[in-house]
């Protein structure tokens, strides 16, 4: 069996890709353009130079033993040796050399697998509930829809160049195990008046701004899956925000258009496809039955361990006598030889036998009861996790700062610590199998913390001048169609204390668990208070001198730093740092007012100036080490640039020169300064620019390099249109300029970004030759910003 059909044109695309890799290696294609090419093929560059990650599509999480064997072999031959299971039911190979990418690609195709659309702005892997087709509680099997829709979508050219990624999911019942209610387009199986169909959600998503999906159809018959998917895709393609990557996902389109307009535009497209029966998906039922090879011997296993395993990890299917088995993986990893071993054994049971789940585990299905011993032996030989209580199986941790440029913390470092402390504790872990713990290293939800029972995402914490790794604590997500909600942010804890926090808090929950049916009910009733109470135990943080360990993340040998050796890519960490000072400002104002001691009041005022000065330095890429540096930089970057009034220079200098006696007399100036900085912070937009009431950008009057780039972004915001043409070669870049200008009115402006070299040498000249005005031409980091006015 196959979980999707490889489209015929893929071979040509691979030939082209092969050629493009060659061009890139010979230096004929620049890096930016090549990135665009390879990412859409599911090939991501990793931090280790010249190595790549290959993400392989597995529609509905399905893979055959033959396919798993091939991928496992490829992992050993060309990759890091292991197969990684993702939270979107796919497989990934890591650290593949660029020269082997095409070989890997072709080998994958030979077994009916493709990485096309693994990444980039494409139709991504289509999910289906891992137990679809075998669950006793399902409405009907949704996986044939995921499979057929995948085959259709990957054969359509318009699937590969969308404004942003497009994720589709199918759930077989209201427990929504594929998270259809929080994705771009989600289908949840329903039955109405004897008819099978779906409730359809769209424009949901996780990420740093999680949004629940919106109801597109309360009920629609099952034959409309393609028409809906196609209409959403076309609409996304037409109206999605291509200009601003951070606002490009479908969920932002709903925001931008508003419900009525979104639905109107959707129905305009939908009506074109709604009744075109010839386009309906060709569904192939997926048969779930026992297909044990003749003569395959059943292994009989007995004993307490086996029984416990059976209780924890196996479940009877709706097909009488057949079982499904969950196999927990350590953070989604399967060692290559283990993958082959799994394939060898499972091949005895047929090809429809394996599913990956969104919690990065795999599920074996269609096993007759008498063969459970065989599976037990198999699982036992590849993981020790299956001896653990089930609560460890669904733990998710993103890769974090060790490989990800965005990361703040290291979830993969802290996860084993949590497991370890729980294993050693006397808590009844089997009673905790309803608590799913998910951890992300930063506010981006690669670790799915928003859909966790207990979720964490990395943040920066501070003690005095020093930063340490910490985690925000979230709790109480609900995944149940109609009631779905994200986890609520409750409190925060230092990374060092996280394992102990988890243990202590879960201990409290166990004591009260009997009162509640669901964990989220406990969270709503008293769980949040308990979290605060436990956090209180860890509230007092040691200074670096008192306990240095707090300043190292789990699994890291280096002391914690956000900006170390690179540009501050993670704006999230930046906002944390700002928040720290905002909080101090608030507290010190209160201190100043409540303290009676002269000395205490003076200290409060000093700290006020200090934090006010430091608060926004990070937005200018400055990490000042000493008090003096902080004051100097504040004067240079905020007062001299007129962001903050000139009159405050004097009071900042008083602090810098530590003339503490003067502070008390001039307390009003100090309070005014903190007000001024707070107001400035309030005027800051998402791009870290400060705007006046009319929306004009403030503070560009001095000549530092950083400011130049801000000024250019300024031009961008004022231009009527924007086109990022980096990575687009001559003459197509000019073609695109012409196309954009064709729809512009006379006098309107267009800002373009161009690569250095022949693009910037040619395009502006061509624009002038056609009579348009080139208003400005500025070098900005690795590219040029050109502002054009239509003649």
């Amino acid at each position: 069996m196959k979980f999707y059909e490889i489209p015929e044109n893929l071979t040509q695309e691979i030939d082209l890709f092969d050629q493009q890799i060659g061009e890139y290696q010979e230096g004929k294609m620049d890096q930016v353009k090549f990135k665009g090419v390879r990412v859409a093929h599911g090939i991501y560059e990793q931090r280790k130079p010249k190595t790549h990650m290959v993400r392989i599509r597995c529609a509905s999480g399905g893979v055959t033993p033959e396919q798993l064997r091939k991928v496992s072999q490829l992992a050993q031959k060309y990759g890091s040796g292991e197969v990684h299971v993702t939270t979107r039911q796919e497989m990934q190979l890591h650290y593949v050399d660029l020269e082997n990418v095409i070989t890997v690609y072709e080998e994958l195709i030979s077994v009916g697998l493709s990485p096309r659309g693994g990444g980039g702005n494409t139709v991504r892997n289509v999910l289906a509930s891992y137990d679809s087709g075998v669950s006793r509680d399902e409405v009907f099997d949704v996986s044939p829809y995921a499979v057929a829709l995948t085959s259709r979508m990957i054969s359509e050219k318009d699937s590969w160049n969308l404004p942003r990624k497009f994720k589709i999911a199918f759930s077989n019942n209201d427990t929504d195990t594929s998270r259809a209610a929080v994705t771009c387009l989600g289908f949840i199986a329903k039955e109405r008046d004897g008819q099978l169909g779906f409730k359809v959600y769209c424009a949901g998503g996780q990420g740093s701004k999680p949004l629940l999906g919106q109801v597109l159809f309360d009920f629609v018959t099952e034959d409309k899956v393609y028409a809906i998917s196609k209409a959403i895709k076309i609409m996304f393609d037409k109206y999605g925000n291509r200009r601003q990557r951070s606002k490009a996902k479908l969920k932002f389109l709903w925001d931008k258009l508003g419900k009525d307009d979104f639905l109107k535009k959707f129905h305009e497209e939908y009506k074109e496809y709604e009744n075109r029966k010839e386009l309906n998906l060709v569904l192939e039922p997926i048969l779930n039955s026992s297909e044990v090879k003749k003569n395959h011997e059943a292994i009989k296993v007995e004993g307490e361990e086996f029984d416990l395993w059976k209780k924890r990890y196996t479940k009877p299917q709706k097909q009488e006598g057949l079982y499904m088995i969950e196999v927990p993986l350590n953070l989604g990893d399967i060692e290559g030889p283990d993958g082959e071993k799994i394939a060898d054994e499972l091949e005895n049971f047929g090809s429809n036998i394996l599913r990956f789940s969104v919690d990065q585990n795999f599920h074996i299905r269609n096993i007759p009861e008498m063969y459970l011993g065989n599976i037990y032996k198999l699982v036992d030989s590849i993981t020790s996790l299956s001896k653990d209580p089930k609560m460890f199986a669904p733990m998710i941790a993103c890769t974090g700062a060790d490989t990800c440029k965005l990361g703040i913390c290291l979830p993969r470092g802290v996860t084993p610590q949590i497991q370890d402390i729980l294993r050693k504790s006397d808590l009844d872990l089997d009673a905790l199998s309803d608590v799913k713990i998910h951890i992300s290293g930063c506010p981006n939800t690669c670790g799915c913390h928003h859909v966790a029972d207990l979720g964490f995402f990395g943040k920066v914490m501070r003690k005095g001048k020093d930063m340490m790794p910490g985690y925000n604590i979230l709790a109480g997500a609900i995944s149940d169609e109609g009631q779905t909600r994200f986890a609520i942010k409750v409190d925060e804890v230092a990374a060092k204390d996280l394992p102990l926090f988890v243990k202590t808090f879960l201990g409290r929950y166990l004591e009260k668990k009997h009162k509640y049916q669901y964990f989220h009910e406990y969270i709503d009733a008293e769980g949040q208070d308990d979290i605060h109470a436990v956090c209180d135990q860890f509230r007092e943080l040691p200074t670096k001198d008192e306990n240095e360990k707090y300043y190292f993340d789990w699994g890291s040998k280096d002391s914690f730093s956000l900006l170390k050796g690179q540009k501050a890519e993670c704006s999230a960490g930046m906002f944390d740092m700002i928040d720290v000072d905002l909080k101090i400002v608030k507290e010190e104002v209160a201190h100043f007012e409540s303290e009676s001691e002269k000395e205490a009041k003076t200290q409060a005022l000093y700290r006020l100036i200090f934090s006010s000065s430091r608060m926004l330095l990070v937005t200018r890429g400055i990490e000042a080490k000493t008090d003096e540096e902080i004051f100097d930089n504040f004067i240079q970057h905020f007062i001299r640039t007129d962001l903050v009034e000139e009159k405050f220079t004097s009071i900042v200098l008083v602090a810098k020169e530590k003339k503490m006696d003067e502070l008390l007399d001039r307390y009003e100036e100090v309070l005014d300064l903190s007000q001024a900085v707070k107001a400035l912070h309030k005027s800051m937009d998402d791009s870290l620019r400060f705007l006046d009431k009319e929306g004009n950008i403030l503070g560009q009057s001095y000549n530092a390099k950083k400011e130049e780039s801000v000024a250019q972004k300024d031009t961008g915001s004022k231009a009527d249109q924007f086109k990022d043409l980096r990575g687009v070669g001559c003459p197509i870049n000019f073609v695109k300029v012409k196309i954009t200008m064709a729809s512009m009115k006379k006098g309107e402006t267009l800002l373009i970004w161009l690569d250095d070299g022949s693009p910037v040498e040619n395009v502006p000249r061509s624009v002038s030759q056609e009579g348009h005005a080139v208003l400005s031409l500025d070098k900005e980091d690795d590219h040029w910003a050109v502002l054009i006015q239509k003649a």
Partner: protein, 271 residues
């Protein structure tokens, strides 16, 4: 109007060299993509014309020809290949057009144009190109286009020479304004006796294709009120100016031709 929606990435790349032309640009390309051009004759002239118009992305190309491909065609009718011998010319042409540019729609009319069907045939097209090879039919195409007010390009080749003009009915001189009436039978050699240098078909056909594209995109000055002729032996080009002839039988002040009739003329067996 959002032009970007009209062309996909692949089309933008395919037509980039048109879009780059200041006078064509995206607007011009979209006009081309939306245009409909009818070729009467899929032979020596029709071949290069159809291929260039297909490559340019003309939305719909109509082909009128009832013949099958013959071995003697292949010397100049470059849209047909050796393996197409015996295949209807419209089918052979369609295959090549689609292969050059799948965006193009082809309307095949496997008939010879005559007085009965031609007016109906040319209705609904934006521009007509005369790629026929006998005087009689050339007058028929001219008269039909004038009566239907259909802009068209006249073209003719013989031996080493070619001539062409573009006609905007009632605005510019028509073919009949210049030549009045077909020459008497036997006054000109039949084509098979005369022969033709294959490349002449390409030289003239591409001029006609260029005129069609200029008309569609409204760029430049059309070859109206002028007859362009050349002799490849000396490779000299000549242009003779004409104006509308008040005495013209079809567009003159007292035009007598209101209905079409087939004109008996030397039949050309050089298809």
């Amino acid at each position: 109007m959002n032009f970007e929606m009209d062309l996909n990435e692949e089309q933008i790349e395919r037509y980039s060299r048109h879009i780059l032309l200041q006078d064509v640009g995206l607007e011009g390309q979209i006009k081309i993509n939306e245009s409909k051009v009818l070729l009467i004759g899929a032979g020596g002239l029709g071949a290069p014309i159809a291929m260039y118009l297909a490559a340019a992305g003309v939305g719909t190309i109509g082909l009128v020809d009832a013949d099958n491909v013959d071995l003697s065609n292949l010397q100049r009718q470059i849209i047909h290949f050796t393996e197409d011998i015996g295949v209807p010319k419209v089918d052979s042409s369609e295959k090549k057009i689609k292969s050059i540019n799948p965006d193009v729609s082809v309307v095949k009319i496997k008939e010879f144009a005559d007085a009965q069907n031609i007016r109906e045939m040319i209705r609904g097209w934006d521009f007509v190109i005369d790629g026929t090879d006998t005087f009689g039919i050339k007058f028929l195409v001219n008269d039909a286009c004038v009566l239907e007010k259909k802009p068209f390009s006249h073209g003719g080749i013989l031996r080493f020479a070619g001539q062409t003009m573009t006609v905007l009915p009632n605005t510019s001189a028509c073919y009949r304004c210049v030549f009045l009436k077909p020459p008497p039978a036997n006054a000109v050699p039949t084509c098979s006796q005369a022969g033709v240098l294959g490349a002449i078909a390409g030289m003239l056909g591409t001029i006609q294709a260029a005129e069609a594209l200029k008309f569609i995109t409204e760029v430049g000055d059309l070859l109206t009120d002028r007859l362009l002729s050349f002799d490849a032996k000396t490779m000299k080009f000549r242009e003779v100016a004409f104006s509308k002839n008040p005495e013209c039988g079809v567009c003159g002040e007292n035009a007598s031709i209101k209905e079409l009739e087939d004109i008996v003329a030397p039949v050309c067996d050089l298809k």
